[in-house]
């Protein structure tokens, strides 16, 4: 039997109201517009990817996605907060601020100093080989520089907190004082790069959305870490400190500016920060880190004492959540960016016209 294109369908069809309505609709459209806009018969999945200078190699992404697990964005958050907390604690101590503030900042730093290596080791494919990181020091590898910074920071921050704890418990002694002071100086020195190096870590990679932002990421991550450290201290009860208020406000204003900068730039490679799920995670993190705590802090400055402290608790909570979500957002955006096959091949996205971005979805993605 000869096969026809109608194979698989009954040879006759019973007309019904739907079929007749559709025919009338086609006639009306043809009369009014002079053409019919309909998909017609189309194989599912079409248009199919091809290998060409315009479509790359069947739209198969050139770059590999990061293989990092959930521990890594969490590490970015914990490390950033701990590094900034160590700096705040040391400066608070040097300027003779409230002792409780100094002690709590040191505890945050020490807790981060213990959690950070645990997260980093858990992410390794071969955790038992973590010590191989200490075979070499490579200035050209941000991962190597970061591991050594982390080790120095962890030793210094835990030693400082330990010595402070022993002094409070068993009274001052010379060895404890030496340990506490040296530890604090070292946690300040290591805390400064530790608070923001993760921006270099992801910036100096082949992932387009990361390396395009390499000049801003470390400052952005540093501000995020500071706002998390301030937020944690406020949640621990330090809601009277004007210094913390100023630092929190400064970080929130910077984060608002960063959010505006991300939103306002029109470049195809930055799409993952603005469109789709990753775009919304970036926005959520940005709102919680920037405008929301900034507004709450501004309000708390004009309110009475009780209300003011309640507002600062919320500002702190928002900043901490914002910092965590911001790190998750950047890592997620990196995954989306790695899947963009156009970027590394320098093929421009046809969705980008001179008039701006069309909202039409890309059939290849």
């Amino acid at each position: 039997m000869r096969r026809t294109p109608h194979d698989g369908r009954p040879s006759t069809r019973t007309p019904d109201s739907t079929s007749e309505q559709r025919l009338a609709e086609i006639r009306r459209e043809a009369e009014q517009r002079g053409e019919i806009k309909a998909a017609g018969v189309r194989p599912s999945g079409a248009p199919f990817p091809m290998a060409s200078p315009e479509t790359g190699y069947y739209g198969i992404p050139l770059l590999k996605e990061p293989a990092w697990t959930w521990e890594v964005p969490l590490y970015f958050f914990v490390g950033g907060a701990a590094g900034a907390a160590a700096v705040v604690g040391a400066i608070a101590d040097y300027t003779g601020a409230d002792r409780n503030l100094v002690r709590d900042a040191r505890w945050i730093a020490a807790a981060g100093a213990v959690i950070s290596p645990a997260l980093l080791i858990a992410d390794l494919g071969r955790p038992e080989r973590f010590l191989n990181m200490m075979r070499v020091f490579k200035p050209q590898s941000p991962m190597s520089v970061g591991v050594w910074t982390l080790l120095g920071f962890s030793a210094a921050a835990t030693a400082t907190a330990f010595a402070g704890f022993m002094r409070e418990r068993y009274g001052p002694s010379l060895p404890l004082r030496v340990m506490e002071n040296a530890g604090q100086a070292a946690s300040l020195a290591f805390g400064l790069p530790f608070s923001n190096y993760t921006g270099v870590l992801i910036g100096a990679t082949t992932i387009p959305v990361w390396n395009r932002n390499v000049a801003e990421l470390p400052i952005h991550f540093g501000a995020s870490g500071l706002s998390a450290a301030v937020g944690l201290l406020e949640m621990m009860g330090h809601r009277r400190s004007r210094a913390l208020q100023m630092l929190g406000l400064g970080a929130a204003i910077f984060e608002s500016w960063e959010g505006w900068r991300i939103e306002s730039r029109q470049q195809p490679g930055l799409d993952p920060l603005k469109r789709g799920t990753s775009g919304w995670i970036v926005r959520a993190g940005g709102a919680l880190s920037g405008p929301i705590p900034a507004a709450l802090r501004a309000l708390s400055m004009i309110r009475g004492n009780e209300r003011s402290r309640a507002l600062r608790r919320w500002a702190g909570l928002s900043a901490v959540a914002g910092s965590l979500i911001t790190r998750i957002a950047w890592v997620h955006a990196g995954h989306v960016s790695a899947r963009d096959w156009r970027e590394p091949l320098e093929i421009s996205d046809p969705l980008y016209t001179e008039k701006g971005v069309s909202r039409r979805r890309d059939p290849h993605q």
């Binding site: 290998a51 050139l62 590999k64 071969r126 075979r135 190597s144 923001n196 270099v200 210094a243 590394p344």
Partner: protein
């Protein structure tokens, strides 16, 4: 010290995948499934931890005389892809354990007994070659048959290639051969024959060079691969500014706080 290289001439490739098989057999790389994309006869897809040679199948509209096909059939092109063994290798620079080294032959080699699976090399490779095996935990890629080269043998893929599409030899010799071959192809009317070795980029040339027809982008070969170390200066400058802002801001905030 000899510096060796691959020259993969896609105009000679027949898509037999002998190189993929030879590579897997010699190196003991596990089977990883035959998955059809539905778009071409390529059932490998891309290089990865279990794919160190990958034959690309480029099919395009009928083009008389291309590859000796009948005019009414789709035109075929094949190209065997491999780790580029960059002169400035992103993976090697990024590796924090020193597991990735440059061998005496100029190749880039991941020492499996040292790699701890941090996966930073994965996002440092501008060609998307090296990948972490999530079951094993370590990163893997083409070894440039370091073990074979050590005893004076050619890499498994080059030895198995039946058309000598994969050539192996001294890098300088192969560069000359490649230029001669491209000229020969141009004389034969294949004016779109192109030599690709990323020589004028920050990668600084590769130990796996290619001759392809047409735009290298058709073969997922990036026009301007960058070794990520080029971003370090900007990154650390930003980090220093961030640290200075944090230190200065904190000092200022606590000094200005009258209550102490």
């Amino acid at each position: 010290m000899s510096r060796t290289a691959f020259l993969t001439d896609s105009t000679l490739c027949i898509g037999c995948k002998a190189c993929e098989v030879a590579c897997k057999e010699w190196n003991g790389v596990g089977e990883d499934g035959l998955e059809w994309s539905g778009f071409s006869y390529d059932n490998t897809g891309a290089l990865g931890h279990s794919t160190w040679r990958h034959v690309k199948f480029v099919e395009h509209a009928p083009e008389p005389g291309f590859g000796g096909n009948a005019p009414e059939l789709n035109s075929w092109a094949f190209s065997s892809d491999v780790c580029k063994h960059c002169e400035n290798a992103g993976c090697l620079e990024a590796c924090p354990t020193g597991a990735i080294v440059r061998t005496e032959f100029g190749g880039v080699y991941v020492q499996p007994d040292i790699c701890n699976g941090c996966a930073y090399c994965v996002i440092a490779c501008p060609f998307g070659v090296v990948e972490r095996n999530q079951d094993d935990g370590r990163a893997f890629k083409c070894t440039f048959c370091y073990d074979r080269q050590k005893v004076g043998l050619v890499p498994a893929c080059a030895k198995a290639c039946p058309t000598e599409s994969i050539k192996f030899g001294e890098i300088e010799d192969l560069r000359v051969k490649a230029q001669e071959r491209v000229e020969e192809l141009h004389q034969r009317g294949m004016n779109d024959a192109t030599f690709y070795d990323a020589g004028n980029t920050s990668v600084g040339g590769t130990h796996a060079m290619f001759i392809v027809r047409g735009d290298p982008r058709t073969y997922n070969l990036p026009p301007k691969p960058e070794v990520p170390t080029v971003y370090l200066k900007k990154g650390w400058t930003s980090s220093a500014i961030g640290a200075a802002l944090l230190l200065g801001g904190t000092l200022l905030a606590f000094l200005a706080d009258g209550e102490r």
